[in-house]
Symmetry: C2
Subunit: 318 residues, 2 copies
Amino acid sequence: MDARQLKHFIAVAETLHFGRAAEQLGMTQPPLSQSIMALERELGAPLFARTRRTVALTPFGRQWLAHVRGVVDGMNALPGIARRLRDGTIGRLELSFVSTADYNILPALVRRFTTTFPDVELALTEATSDVQLAALLAGKGHVGLVIPPPNGALPEGLSYLPLVTEPLVAAVPESWIAEGRLALSAGRLAAETVVGAPLILFPRQSAPAFHDLVTGYYARHGGQARIAQEAIQMQTIISLVSAGMGIALVPASLRNLARSGVAYVELGGVAPILETGLTWRTDDTTATITRFVDIAKKENGEAGRPTSPLHTSLEERS
Amino acid sequence: MDARQLKHFIAVAETLHFGRAAEQLGMTQPPLSQSIMALERELGAPLFARTRRTVALTPFGRQWLAHVRGVVDGMNALPGIARRLRDGTIGRLELSFVSTADYNILPALVRRFTTTFPDVELALTEATSDVQLAALLAGKGHVGLVIPPPNGALPEGLSYLPLVTEPLVAAVPESWIAEGRLALSAGRLAAETVVGAPLILFPRQSAPAFHDLVTGYYARHGGQARIAQEAIQMQTIISLVSAGMGIALVPASLRNLARSGVAYVELGGVAPILETGLTWRTDDTTATITRFVDIAKKENGEAGRPTSPLHTSLEERS
DNA sequence: TCTATTGATATGCCAAACATATCACCAATG
DNA sequence: CATTGGTGATATGTTTGGCATATCAATAGA
C-alpha cells in the first residue's frame, strides 16, 4: 500500500491502457503491470477486468478509485500547503488586544490583514496588557496590542512595535459644563479644575500603565486624585460619567464611543500621552506573525497622525 | 514527498525523540534523521527545532502536521475501505422497481437491507419492467424489481429471482355493489360479471406482462375486454374506479392502497397470478448486488405467504 | 494467414533506503 | 571539575525492490 502504487492505479484507471499509463508515469509498461498486480493481490480483488486487448475498471475498482483519488489529491496538495504555511498566507494567528485598541487601531488593522491574507484564521481576544504579556511569555497566543508597562521596559524575550500615541482627554458629564460646575477656557479644562473633580478610574492592578499615566497627571499638577469609583470596562466608566458620578481621563480615541450626556474635553497643562503598540515573542518564527507585523508597520506609516486611525475605525463600525 | 517520509515525520512529531521514533517505525535512528532532513530541505523550512538534547516542533511543523495527519490517516483507511467495498458493506446500489412493488415487497426489502447494510447508499428509481430491463442491459443501474416478460424468458445476460406471487383482484366502485350493478356470490365476483363491466387498464406498451395477464383472464372466460379508459399510474387507475368509470384488475397487495368508494373483491374463475421478482446483470460482480440478492432470498423464505409483506409494508407507511 | 498491438513474463541492473559504526556535544552527577 | 550517559549528526557498507530490456502469448483486423 504505497503512494506510488496508488498513483499507478489512478494512471491506469484514467487511460485504461497500460502502455500509455506507463508513458504518462515516466516508466515502462512491465513494472507497471507488476505494480497493479501486486496491488490487486494485496486487496484480494481485481481492480481491472482485462481481456487480451482491452482494460476496464471492475465495479470494485471504480468505487475504490474515488477514495484513492481523494487521498492522492490530498497528498499532492501537501507541498503547496507547506509553502503557503511557510509564507504565512495560510494558517492561524491569535491576536489579543486591550479594550482601548478596539476604538483605535484594531478595526483598521484587522480589516487590512484579513483582506491581505484572507486564508489566515484570525482569532481575537480582549485582555488587559499584563494578562497578554503573561500569556505570551507562557507561550500562548501570537501577537498582542498592549499599552507598554510604566517603566517602559517590556519583559525579556518580547519584541515591541509602537503603533499609536494619543493624548488623554477628560470625559465629563455634559450637565456639569452647562451648570458651570466645570469651567472651560479656550475649549480646555484647566488642570486645577480636573484635579478638584471626583475621578472614575481603572483599578491599578488591571491596567498599571494607564493608571500611572493618570495619577502622574494629578501629581504634576499638584493634586491627589479623589477616586469616586473604580471600574474595569471602558463602557462602564463612560456610563458612570454619564450618570454624573465624576469625570474620567480617557484616550482621545474614545470619542468614537459617543454617549449622550458625556462630553470629551481636552486637558489643560501637560496632557498625558498614551501609547499603544504591538508585541510578540522575539523567538516565535510563525510566518503569520511576520506578516501581521509588516501590515502593522505599513498601517502605522500610512496613518501618520494618531487621529487618522480613529476616523478609520469609525467608518469600520458604521 | 513520499508517504514513508510523512510517516517518519508524524512519528518524530509524536515522540519528539529520534531514537524512540525510529524504534516505533521499526528502523534505526540515522536513516530517520536523514529522512527528516531531506524532508526539511525539500520544504525549505525546518520542521523541528533541535537543541543538543531536545527536539521540538517549529510552529511551521506544528501547523503542517495537522494536514499531514489527515492525508496519512486517509491513506491508512484505504485498505479498510477496499475490504468493505469488496465485502459489499459500503458502497452504492441502484435499485429500480415497478410501481406495484411499492405496495408489496419493496418497503420491507429496503428496510431490511438498509438496517443490515447502513453504509450502503441505496438509490431508488420507479420504472416499468421493460424500461428497467433495457437499462440493465445498457449497463445502467444494478438491480431491478420487475414483472417478468409474458413469455417468461428474460433477456440473455440477466439473472432472475422470483420473490412474490399474488392473485389479481377486482377494484370496483363500492356504489356498484350497493346498487346491485355487480352481483357478489360467496364474496366473489363471477367471471361473467367481470367480463361485462367496463375496464380500466394499463396501456400494453407500458406493462405488457401485466396487460397480457388481464386480457388472458378475459380470453379464458370467453369475453373481450371493454376498455373504458387507459392509465399509467396505479393511483390514477384507482381514482378512476372511485369515480365510477369502471372496474380494474389489480394485484391483491393494492388493498394497501385504501381509497374511499373503492372495494377490492376476489375474482371468480381462475384468478390470474402476478409474479414480481428481482433481476440483475449476471456478470456484474458488484458485491452490494450479491448482498442485496441474499437479503431478498432470505426475505422471500421468511415471508412465506405473499400477504405477509403487505402488512409489513402497511406498518412501514404509517 | 499474417501482422500489429496488447498485457504478461523473465531477467539483470542500480539507486535508495536501511544498518552498523562512530562522532560531537551537552547535561547531569559525584 | 572530571566523568558518564544520552542525544542527534555523520560516515560508510549492504541489500532490497523498483525499474529497464528482452521476450512471449494472444487476439483483432487486414
